[in-house]
């Protein structure tokens, strides 16, 4: 059984004002305080375009490697609903501002490109709240807030991939500053189109799932739907296109309507707004304002820092992590060492504590001090890991911990020569073995040396001295 998933994501643009009027675009204000005749749909009003909204939208277009349309029109999508003030929504029907992009995600089969079919700009609707006594309250603060709708190709093949895609998309939109992407505030919303196909090529009809309020809900709804559709397919039930609603409490999708009962939106041109023609300079300016994208960053890490591809990939994927990494490297220019520690010890802690890298207590300075103790051979890697665990929570000076716990590695050659000779004396057989060419005698003696020094002997130094002292015998 194969699963075919496409997503439609609505993201509110992080503008100061609404898309077609100068009302503020803010979340959480008292109902119906951010409104004017235009967004309330009073007769006689016309849309004025918010240039900054277009900028943020196009920025998103570039961030997903889309082709950008320089001349665009807007359309009216007509339907009646109380949260819609004009009887139509202004959107872009056949001329989306961005097309043919993609976002690369990490999947079980390795890196995978999820193609983005189109991105268009539109206005948000107001918000209906249904009360227990059967009333509906309307708040038009959100009416006219700028949105982008991102539509993917059906390239996603599991709930897990869908979740990864959404997480990466969210990260990217936040990183470029186009959207606040807060699902809990509704500034990011997602609809899912999903169907399954069996080995003989029989397909279940496409089902659209709405009312998904979290990434977890997306994942659960897809898993539920895949199972439901697979069973239908196995039982030979004929299916038709339909829209279903995710019900969080029961953990089920519930039929809303069959597709043939759907609205005819009767799209026509919005002629109150002339065609928008974007100048080359405008487009160029947006392109230049775009922060470095992960794929470019990865390449730079490989060339500039000589990192291996795996490390460069992981470090560049998330904004917070790459910023943290670059900050440390700026002060302590040993990129591979820094990378090794971040990708193992730091990441492990963050995952365990379920925190963001920006929230860690350990200061850059103390982290760097610890790295330098390793680098200069003052402590062994294992001791350093022990210290890291302590200072990650306490942000204490790693040298202090090292001394307190007596983890300092011993480099004193007099001490080491004495120690090595003691060990050799105690193991005469090893001398014989070494003389007949059995190299493993060195390993055995090294083990004894480390044991006797309680791990404080510098292994490299000790190894050298063991060989020297053996040769003298």
């Amino acid at each position: 059984m194969k699963t075919i998933i496409g997503l439609e994501i609505h993201a509110e643009l992080a503008t100061k004002t609404k898309m077609f009027c100068s009302c503020k675009n803010e979340f959480g204000q008292a109902p119906n305080t951010l409104v004017c005749p235009t967004c309330l749909g009073i007769v006689g009003t016309f849309p004025k375009i918010n240039k900054n909204a277009l900028k943020l939208a196009i920025k998103a277009g570039f961030a997903f490697d889309c082709e950008i349309r320089q001349s665009m029109k807007f359309d009216r999508k007509k339907y009646f609903y109380p949260d819609l003030t004009k009887g139509f929504q202004i959107t872009q029907q056949d001329e989306p501002f961005a097309e043919n992009g993609y976002l690369e995600i990490e999947s079980d089969e390795g890196d995978k490109k999820i193609r983005i079919e189109r991105i268009h700009v539109e206005e948000d609707t107001g918000k209906s709240t249904h009360t227990d006594d059967g009333k509906t309250l309307l708040d038009y603060n959100r009416a006219g807030v700028p949105l982008i709708e991102i539509v993917t190709k059906p390239d996603i093949s599991s709930a897990k991939e869908a979740k990864t895609f959404l997480e990466d998309l969210r990260q990217r939109l936040k990183y470029i500053g186009s959207s606040d992407v807060k699902m809990e505030e509704g500034s990011l919303r997602c609809d899912v189109n999903v169907n399954v196909k069996d080995e003989e090529g029989n397909r279940h009809a496409i089902v659209e799932i709405k009312n998904l309020n979290s990434f977890r809900a997306v994942e659960r709804a897809i898993n539920y739907e895949v199972e439901r559709q697979s069973n239908e397919l196995k039982e030979g039930i004929t299916s038709s296109k339909e829209t279903r609603r995710w019900d969080e409490t029961s953990g089920k999708t519930i039929l809303m309507r069959k597709k043939d009962e759907e609205n005819d939106y009767r799209f026509t041109v919005e002629s109150d707004m002339p065609r928008v023609n974007l100048s080359d300079e405008f487009i160029e300016e947006i392109k230049n304002s775009l922060p470095e994208l992960p794929k470019d960053k990865k390449q730079r890490y490989i060339t500039q820092y000589n990192l291996n591809e795996y490390d460069a990939n992981v470090l560049s994927r998330e904004q917070n992590i790459s910023e943290y990494f670059e900050n440390i490297v700026k002060k302590y220019n040993y990129p591979q060492l820094v990378s090794n520690w971040i990708l193992t010890e730091t990441m492990r802690r963050i995952k365990e504590y379920e925190i963001e890298i920006t929230d860690i207590k350990l200061s850059d300075d103390n982290f760097i001090k610890l790295l330098d103790l390793v680098k200069s051979g003052k402590i062994s890697n294992n001791s350093a890991k022990k210290i890291f665990r302590d200072i990650f929570d306490s942000n204490e000076n790693p040298e202090k911990i090292m001394k307190e716990k007596g983890l300092e590695q011993n480099n004193d050659s007099d001490f080491l020569v004495k120690l090595v000779n003691e060990v050799i004396e105690e193991n005469p057989q090893s001398v014989e073995d070494f003389k007949v060419g059995k190299d493993r005698a060195v390993g055995f003696l090294m083990g004894q040396v480390m044991k006797k020094s309680k791990g404080k002997a510098n292994p490299q130094e000790a190894n050298k001295i063991v060989r020297e002292e053996l040769s003298k015998r």
Binding site: I42, V43, F46, K78, Y81, V269, D272
Partner: protein
């Protein structure tokens, strides 16, 4: 009465502004033309008093000093009821002023009231008005035309000197013609539409009705221009030259039989052309294609646009709404069924049909194509001629009460009106004769409204 004559009376102390404005309100009450839906009497007289004081104190006055102006009731006036002659807005008090009203309020003009019209400007007889039909002062037995019937009747019946109307498919020029006054529909966007209730928003324009071309020019100069509230608004070209009759090039559209031109109109039009030629104006005959389908093209685009523009009138946030309903859908259905008249409903149904995806919107697409072709053809003519000359309407006004029998026929006789709305061009209707009904329509090049008005002034002089 025109601006100059009235202001002369004020300045010569023959009459005070207050006296004249009171006289205007007397006329309105005595005439019973039903030209107004709502009067602005109290505020108008208050302003008149202020103006008299201003004049007495020798303060600077402006070009509209003491001039009464009537406003079509689809133009929003803050705190003054605006109904669009619809039951659905019969109690609607706007919270903001249209751009044109804001501009007028800064002048010494006096707003008399809100004029009667066809409901939501849909119709050309005033018979679709929720407030009853307007009487034609020029001939009370005949329809006053429409949709700006009240504005034309107010000017023709001495109930105002100036009036604002709106013109979507002839709604200023048609009633001006039928009431035998001047009607000017400028280039699309020349006057901001902000605060004007949209009918068909790619055709709509605010227009002027007056007794003389000069009066229209004075008012146009004050209310024209780009506005930040209307993205489609523009600044038209200035025109400083004087008109030399010898250099004037006029293109007269051939009146073929297929267009069904009334014989009387035809004769009067030929006579007007003859007068122009006698004054050394060269008049060439040109032909226009697509005239026979213009009505259909216009109907398709107009009804589609009107349907979406009127969609916001759902009774939820403002406007009339029912008390009893079952579901949300039922709420919409009842509000719109009970509060819209037949003609509005007919156009909404048409618009829905033409925009539906079932026929792949083929009528809409085809209509847009023909609109573009027509634009190119008319632009081509206007690259060689200064104006295009036609009769304003190709039929005589019907007897009152007969207009709603066939709502299509008025489009047919208004095909020369429709052309300019389809092509965004400025156009003016001037009576051919003071004593008998019938007007010529002059159409100018896009954004050359000032040139058109100056030519119209000359031609007006010749026809008189």
């Amino acid at each position: 009465m025109n601006i100059n004559d009235l202001q002369k009376k004020y300045f010569d102390n023959e009459i005070t502004v207050e006296e004249y404005i009171k006289e205007v309100f007397e006329n309105i009450k005595n005439n019973n033309y039903n030209a107004f839906i709502t009067l602005n009497e109290e505020k108008a007289i208050e302003k008149a008093k202020l103006l008299d004081k201003k004049l007495k104190e020798n303060k600077k006055v402006d070009k509209l000093f003491g001039i009464p102006i009537a406003i079509k009731d689809n133009i929003l006036t803050k705190d003054l009821r605006t109904t669009a002659a619809s039951k659905s807005l019969k109690n609607f008090i706007p919270i903001y002023d249209a751009d044109v009203i804001t501009k007028l309020n800064e002048t010494d003009a006096i707003i008399i009231g809100k004029t009667n019209m066809d409901e939501y400007a849909m119709g050309s007889s005033s018979e679709t008005s929720y407030f009853g039909p307007t009487i034609n002062p020029f001939n009370p037995e005949l329809t006053p035309g429409g949709s700006s019937s009240g504005s034309a009747a107010a000017v023709a019946g001495d109930e105002s000197v100036l009036a604002l109307g709106t013109d979507t498919g002839g709604s200023v020029r048609n009633p001006a013609d039928f009431c035998n006054v001047v009607g000017f529909a400028p280039s699309f966007g020349a006057i901001s539409r902000y605060g004007v209730i949209s009918m068909s928003n790619s055709f709509d324009r605010v227009g002027i009705i007056s007794n003389t071309v000069d009066d229209a020019l004075v008012l146009f100069n004050i209310i024209k221009g780009k506005s930040k509230n209307d993205f489609t608004s523009i600044d038209v070209e200035e025109f400083e030259e004087s008109i030399d009759l010898k250099d004037l090039k006029v293109a007269k559209v051939e009146l073929k039989d297929v267009y069904d031109v009334d014989e009387t109109i035809h004769k009067r039009f030929d006579k007007a052309v003859q007068k122009l030629e006698e004054n050394n104006i060269s008049v060439d005959t040109v032909t226009l294609d697509h005239l026979e389908v213009l009505n259909q093209v216009y109907t398709v685009i107009m009804s589609i646009e009107a349907e979406s523009n009127i969609a916001k009138i759902d009774g939820l946030r403002y406007g009339e709404s029912v008390e009893q309903y079952d579901t949300t859908e039922d709420f919409y259905m009842r509000n719109r069924t009970e509060n819209f008249g037949e003609e509005v409903k007919r156009r909404l149904a048409l618009g829905n049909f033409f925009a539906s995806k079932d026929n792949n919107q083929k009528y809409y697409k085809k209509s847009m194509q023909i609109r573009n072709k027509l634009k190119m053809q008319v632009e081509d003519i206007l690259s060689k001629y200064d104006i295009i000359l036609t009769p304003t309407t190709t039929a005589l006004p019907k007897e009152k009460g007969k207009s709603t029998e066939d709502s299509y026929s008025s489009f047919d006789s208004g095909m020369f009106n429709i052309i300019t709305n389809l092509t965004n061009l400025p156009s003016i209707s001037i009576p051919m004769n003071e004593s008998e009904q019938g007007s010529v329509q002059l159409t100018g090049n896009r954004n050359q409204d000032m040139k058109l008005l100056n030519i119209a002034k000359v031609i007006e002089g010749i026809l008189k």
